[in-house]
Symmetry: C2
Subunit: 410 residues, 2 copies
Amino acid sequence: MAKNMIIGQSGGPTVAINASLSGAIQQAMKSPEIGEIYGALNGLEGLLKENIIDLRASMRSAGDFQRLEATPSMALGSCRFKLPNYPHEAYDKLREIFRRYEIGYFFYIGGNDSMDTVLKLSNYFKECGDDVKCMGIPKTVDNDLPVTDHTPGFGSAAKYIATSLIEVAHDSAVYDLPAVTIVEIMGRNAGWLTAAACLARNGAGGAPHMILLPESAFDPDAFVSKVKELQAKTKSVIIAVSEGIKFADGSYVASSGTSATDAFGHAMLAGVGGYLKSLLQDQVGCKARAVELSVLQRSASHCSSGTDIREAVTIGARAVELAAAGETGAMVVFRRICENPYLVSCDKAGIGDVANLEKTVPASWITPGGWDVTEQMDRYLRPLIQGNPPRFEKDGLPDYFALDKTIVKR
Amino acid sequence: MAKNMIIGQSGGPTVAINASLSGAIQQAMKSPEIGEIYGALNGLEGLLKENIIDLRASMRSAGDFQRLEATPSMALGSCRFKLPNYPHEAYDKLREIFRRYEIGYFFYIGGNDSMDTVLKLSNYFKECGDDVKCMGIPKTVDNDLPVTDHTPGFGSAAKYIATSLIEVAHDSAVYDLPAVTIVEIMGRNAGWLTAAACLARNGAGGAPHMILLPESAFDPDAFVSKVKELQAKTKSVIIAVSEGIKFADGSYVASSGTSATDAFGHAMLAGVGGYLKSLLQDQVGCKARAVELSVLQRSASHCSSGTDIREAVTIGARAVELAAAGETGAMVVFRRICENPYLVSCDKAGIGDVANLEKTVPASWITPGGWDVTEQMDRYLRPLIQGNPPRFEKDGLPDYFALDKTIVKR
């Protein structure tokens, strides 16, 4: 007999999460094992409050799915709620809700923390003897989930970052003056996003000229020397830097100089960009400016990757397919079968092998001294940014999709 | 007998400047009055150093023109050099260079300051009795040039700002928590760019909920009250703010709280975004964050407006057409003939009527209290962001054009 499914989204936004949601709903509609298709608003937090909607009712046409896939951020909303260890009242509450809504399939689209939730719930339901299949669907712009070759959401962020880098380099090159432009990119511990700046080297004087990842310790003196060396060769030096770079002692560069306070007495952080800019003005005396790509790198659907969106749909669908076939306690992953031509398969990994683990950039993909990434990085990244997905416009601007958020009570 | 022309670019980058350059070159190629087509690298500064290139040689095919039109920033480079008042040695130097290169036509693509240069040079050559036609071609993301209905470069920046606003609003709405997001937009004295945020109101909860322009004095207490009022209605409040807003005493909000210094002893500016964020954390106690759209708003060709690029080509061509017909001391302008359907003509204005003058947002287009813009602004802006121009990609990223910068000596 068919059982109902529920799906939620958790963690930070990407432009590919809704594509995975779309894939999951489309596959569920084709699966006789699945009855109602519920969505949890704001992840587990909303689920516990029974903020549950009917996704079958929301998606009325093929066009709705295409528009959902082209929409950034999270149509179901998100939460930062991490399921506590068992025993905790949340487990009983969830079990009771799942029974009442006759849930047999639980899907969670998220990153490391969300996979921890999938791990805990799949173990819990197994222990209880309840037949609830729990599957994780990966997403994160950080690309730091293990086992999977890469994560949906990352390719589009990489494309936006490389595109922006090229444009910032064009903007920076107009004056006949030596200048340094620092572009600050997301990623506290893993440097994948910042590394994507290397893709921009198809013009505008080979920018970026330096790529600083959190995987390499930052040495201010060596940095200043390196900038001087670059300035001897090029007038407009472009530096891509991760927000998460650290000094040799492990402390974040972004947190240095915290003695400053603003007009309201709050501590003011210069951030990595501000710090490097000041360092260069002080030690090199050159014109320097800092650009922060900010939240747009994870929400710019207008610049998404066709490959990324297509793969996100596929991986969402595959999770539902596997769960309907009886799989549980797993996350769907990509395995790269071939680099050229690019070919991936969509497989599964034990959730215990991914939850709470972080994949950083391998040391062998970083050049000696930590100033750049190797050719291998470009080969790895290049296929992930190819193509443009269908985009929808209204009155000259993106026409994004919103779900009907009518709550369904049972 | 045909005379040669020279064209230069000056001031800050936009994504439409190269389109005007393309239009000018294409028209010159069709004009029997014009012989050689020279480009001055880095504007007047480069011209004085005779950094002059041959544009006819650079543009080899129709495809080259299309790619140049799709390329952001300034293919010829820029300068911030303002021609001093006559008498000054620069005049004699320029006259000598113009004679040697047999220049009969001078075109300068730029904003207010560049039009001042065109004014001075056209007067100077008239006084000398030299037959050199001097024409200004407008560009500025700020849209602050008088007479012309709008300025090339502005429409694309407006489209990028509105697109980004929609995406930032999607990003900000994911958590079930009250939060304020402040989006800082360029414009020191004129609020046109910030006003373009109003175009984003086609979804995502009507964001932005507040638009603060430099044309209205900023009152911190009234602002805090207004934010509280908005928070009673919506969870995620989005505020678009111009970098140039000022207190009632005329001082820049961005400059307040300058007592803070960074790790190197440099004064640290929180900027407008940082100031408003701190103000809200202090007075409202809510989660607040600031996003700065930065230089991408003037260089994001990947998100340019079809109307803007097409018009920029037209206005560049029109300047050459007018000069070839004997016009001098003028800037080409757009006159809006009809709003719906949108129709503009491409006319000329006396350079004295535009040089050094600034067009700000009319008071009647700002709502009482200065919290928003009126419907008239949307009607004015909407046609300027329509359509997408041809875009060129290579390996998943924009494929921008570069001129051959071989110097031509005469």
